[in-house]
Subunit: 150 residues, 2 copies
Amino acid sequence: MIGVTGGDAYAGGFLGELVRRFREADGGEGESDFQLLAPLVVPRSRRAAPLSGAPDPEVFWRIDVFHAAVGAAIERRTGVHCEPMLRMHHDGFGRVVLIAGRLVVLSRTLRDVIAFGFDSVEALAEAGERLVAEGVELIERFPDVARGAP
Amino acid sequence: MIGVTGGDAYAGGFLGELVRRFREADGGEGESDFQLLAPLVVPRSRRAAPLSGAPDPEVFWRIDVFHAAVGAAIERRTGVHCEPMLRMHHDGFGRVVLIAGRLVVLSRTLRDVIAFGFDSVEALAEAGERLVAEGVELIERFPDVARGAP
């Protein structure tokens, strides 16, 4: 346990969902939560563009899993299923959306996918929880659309 | 002109938008509209799975351009910008959405992307126009969401 958000908020919140996904992918037994999240926690100065032009698929995976964890935390709080979709361009731009029914719960343009990361676990947790809160608010505003606009 | 939907409906409608995209990509001067659309007009019996497992990127392009044309025709009729997003899986499944603001105007799961095609130009035009009509209806039902839920 990192203990950033502590207790239930951690287990059912964004960071808990994120750790769970990293652990599933990693399969490692011995690593701490902090060690698992390390690829997302990189000081800005070290998040430089790579030498080659093509982005690392690993970067895409991290962006995907970050937003999947946001979606899972929203789903846990609202009962509405959220699905992430990514569109990455080779010039380093990316678009990420989270979809619930007919509602775009989250919509982001990432200007520099290579540099996707956070200065600290606290910054990572804050960014994720802020997106969760925004998504929950939007679903509460448009519940019919989020349930597929039947 | 193919003359399937004729006149203004053709120029500003789905099929006109689709032809325009094929012509831009092709660059060819001599080809008729019908010749340009030929890759999408394939009898079902000839839309077989390929020998190798990996889908042809050309198939993705056709699926993308089909839905981009649906989005452009919706935009022309509503004034609301629509953007397509695709997620293709290597097992042949695909998900396509068209997004306007915070509204998922169109959402489709394609079960067999390799076999994406239509028996005739008429069937192609009908399928596109039906999706356009559904999208326009949804935007009229949820105009605030389609304008980004400000």
